[in-house]
Assembly symmetry: C2
């Protein structure tokens, strides 16, 4: 029988923070986070300097899973155009889940309203990596203006996840034609 190591207090705090801030917003109190993690406030402040640091660390911890859920594998043999479309297919799939509240890295920045907050900076960088992915694929796929296309795709990504997250749209038969129109206009292969 294989037994997994029980997660320690640090791990439990990061997990609870990721789950509860996504569901309830960054305004959730330290006591609620500690309670959900089963960790005392004293222990929390031994592990993290502040709630701000805990929030930033929880976002950072989720970054690789976020990328893995969205991006295609490296050199998967598909065209650059298809690799970009893959990202948006994932967003459409994710938006189907009843607990979907949009992109957490966008939401946290909108909620904090402070670009200098450590969690905003982590979120900003993670979203910057997504734009960099779009830019690299756009350039390799021969887009007429890879910078512009990468900004457009980032805009569509955030608009789509925001609107699906608040229940303003379900994204069905919306994302694909929008992205295709932009890829076509850019002359993307």
């Amino acid at each position: 029988m294989i037994t997994e190591a029980k997660p320690g207090p640090r791990e439990r705090l990061l997990e609870a923070t990721a789950t509860l801030t996504y569901r309830d917003g960054v305004g959730i109190g330290v006591e609620a986070l500690c309670k959900a993690a089963g960790v005392s406030k004293r222990s929390m402040y031994q592990l993290f300097d502040s709630k701000d640091e805990l929030l930033a660390a929880s976002l950072e911890r989720g970054a690789s899973a976020y990328v893995a859920r969205l991006l295609p594998g490296a050199d998967d043999g598909r065209s650059h155009r298809e690799r970009i479309l893959h990202v948006f297919e994932q967003v459409e799939l994710q938006a189907d889940a009843p607990e979907f509240r949009g992109c957490r890295y966008l939401a946290v920045q909108i909620e904090l309203k402070d670009q200098s907050h450590p969690a905003s900076q982590v979120a900003h960088q993670i979203k910057g990596n997504l734009t960099a992915f779009f830019r690299a694929e756009a350039a390799r796929g021969g887009a007429s203006d890879p910078d512009l296309l990468a900004r457009q795709l980032s805009l569509v990504f955030d608009g789509a996840s925001a609107r699906a997250g608040i229940g303003a749209d379900n994204l069905k038969e919306l994302i694909a034609p929008t992205v295709v129109a932009l890829l076509d206009t850019a002359g993307m292969r």
Copy 2:
């Protein structure tokens, strides 16, 4: 000399709530709102059943100014295509202001994470009116699929204001080519 009537407590509360929730988020406390408005908590609860109702009323009060700042005048002689582009020119202009934090009606829904909240419902309806404007112009301008185009334009609107609001993009030379690509693809005059 013309003297304006001094705003009463109700008006001051609505104004303070609009200003402070836009700047700091919906989590701001009732005491801070009352203090900024120069109104006692007791008076506030005589005027509004709850903070939720105050927030909803402050959004509703701003709706006509929001529409006036964004939409073109009725029958201004421009083409339907130009009338749609007008909205996005306004977003680009608004995004230039240092205090710009994106569309307040999007932000409040992302922050509240509760579609049944009275303020979410007000915000949802106001944004629905914008989508309805896009749909009407799309239909009159001969778009191949007015429903799709209206959803696409709403998505671009929210993506653009969200990204500008968090400082991820400044929208320069981004919104116009994005909207034009969608209008062209839809065959819009």
